[in-house]
């Protein structure tokens, strides 16, 4: 009996680490932190982007414009055909409503352009600030046109205001495409600046490593190639940048040409990134 008791005691001593270890492993679950819920509850909520709301309203307004445009076309056609006072009243109402929606569309468009330009880095301040002011002035002009349209009593007043609006429309078109050009140029400039910075960081990182002589020579040749590509990139981009900053891009045609001119720069940037990723390995 004593021997059996001693045997049981020895067995307990031998197997104790296994059982105790398992119990500890069960109680300590590394995947679920006890503070996880608290951290998620107190984490700051991301603020909604005002641009998203503007964009949603913009597309809603465009849809509304399309629907109203149909009514305007019908009412105008009826007036021109029937030439009655009732049809004229209907035409005036539908025309005034359509002009009002068009004005709201331009106001939203100018708001969005202002926000995007404000957020774009890489645009020189001497170009960005005056353009922000220009966009604000344009907004005021569109607002004034909206008020005059609402106050237009008859079809002659509406038509007179429509004639005034043509010059404003041309100005809106010119400034919108110039702003878009600045934004495109600014984004490319930002990417080029970041590319040069990353090149420097990768160079420091690679050269600080203890590398055999032949591999170090290989890396140095790789960096020389990268530097040549960056130089070509700069050479391509500089005239495009200059053209954009001097307000030569102010139409749909020039915006398309700008996109084409930036395509080569864009391709070289991607190539340089690939070289950097290769050389880093």
């Amino acid at each position: 009996m004593q021997l059996i008791a001693m045997l049981v005691f020895i067995l307990t001593l031998l197997f104790q680490p296994f059982f105790s270890g398992k119990v500890i492993a069960d109680t300590m679950d590394p995947e679920v932190s006890p503070t996880a819920e608290i951290q998620s509850a107190t984490a700051p909520v991301n603020e909604p982007d005002p641009l998203d709301d503007l964009q949603a309203n913009y597309f809603d307004l465009l849809e509304k414009y399309r629907q109203q445009e149909q009514k305007y076309i019908v009412a105008k056609g009826q007036f021109l055909q029937l030439n009655t006072l009732a049809s004229q009243e209907q035409a005036i109402r539908e025309t005034r409503t359509l002009i009002d929606i068009r004005a709201d569309i331009f106001l939203l468009n100018l708001d969005m352009l202002s926000i995007i330009l404000e957020r774009t880095t890489g645009v020189p301040l001497e170009n960005k600030s005056p353009q922000m002011v220009t966009l604000t002035l344009l907004k005021e002009k569109v607002q004034l046109h909206k008020v005059k349209n609402a106050e237009s009593a008859d079809r002659l007043a509406i038509d007179a205001e429509a004639d005034q609006f043509i010059s404003l429309f041309t100005e809106l078109q010119r400034e919108s495409y110039y702003t878009l050009g600045l934004i495109r140029m600014g984004r490319v400039q930002t990417a080029i600046d970041k590319l040069k910075f990353v090149r420097g960081a990768v160079f420091d990182h690679v050269m600080n490593q203890q590398l055999p002589v032949h591999i170090r020579s290989e890396k140095e040749r790789g960096f020389a190639e990268i530097d040549r590509t960056i130089e070509l990139l700069d050479q391509n981009f500089t005239p495009v940048r200059q053209q954009t900053l001097t307000k030569q891009n102010n139409s749909l045609n020039s915006d398309t040409k700008l996109s084409q001119a930036l395509a080569d720069t864009f391709a070289k940037m991607n190539q340089t990134v690939q070289f950097l990723e290769e050389i880093r390995r």
Binding site: L3, I4, L7, I10, L11, L14, L62, Y65, E69, Y72, K76, F79, L80, Q88, I92, T95, I99, R102, I105, F106, N109, M112, L113, I116, R155, I158, D159, A162, D163, F165, I166, F169, Q173, S176, Y177, I183, R184, R187, V188, T190, A191, K194, L195, F197, V198, A201, H205, N208, Q209, L252, L258, S259, Q260, L262, A263, F266, M269, V273, E277, R280
Partner: protein, 134 residues
């Protein structure tokens, strides 16, 4: 010593203090219990039990030893070519460069010239009631 004493001393079948039973009313119960206790021998475990315990212990020790050997052989890594572990600074630099690459790729994607940032509103420039006089 009488002759009877001599005979009784030579008699090896009888104890000297033995008295014939039931002559003096028998032996008392306490005395009987003590005698019974004295008479019950200590029971030793059979040798088979000892052998079983011994074999079981041996098997257990062998099993534990085998498990420890298997664990140690599993944990032992197959070292083909030892490589130097990167220093903490190098690992931090590598993480920073990863982040820089992510930011760079995001900036380049943002700079895609084919992206239609914000098209000019597709609206009619000339909205009027009576047609324009040309």
């Amino acid at each position: 010593m009488t002759e009877d004493d001599i005979v009784s001393s030579l008699d090896q079948t009888r104890f000297s203090s033995e008295e014939p039973l039931f002559e003096n009313g028998g032996i008392s119960t306490s005395t009987q219990a003590n005698q019974k206790e004295e008479k019950v021998p200590t029971k030793k475990p059979p040798k088979v039990v000892f052998a079983f315990i011994g074999i079981f212990s041996l098997m257990l020790i062998l099993l534990i030893g085998l498990m420890m050997f298997i664990n140690s052989s599993k944990k032992a890594p197959i070292v083909v070519q030892p490589s130097p572990s990167p220093s903490v600074i190098q690992v931090q630099q590598s993480d920073q460069i990863d982040q820089l690459f992510d930011e760079l790729n995001s900036d380049i994607k943002n700079a895609d010239p084919l992206e239609n940032i914000l098209p000019f509103p597709p609206v009619d420039a000339d909205i009027r009631i009576t047609p324009r006089q040309r």
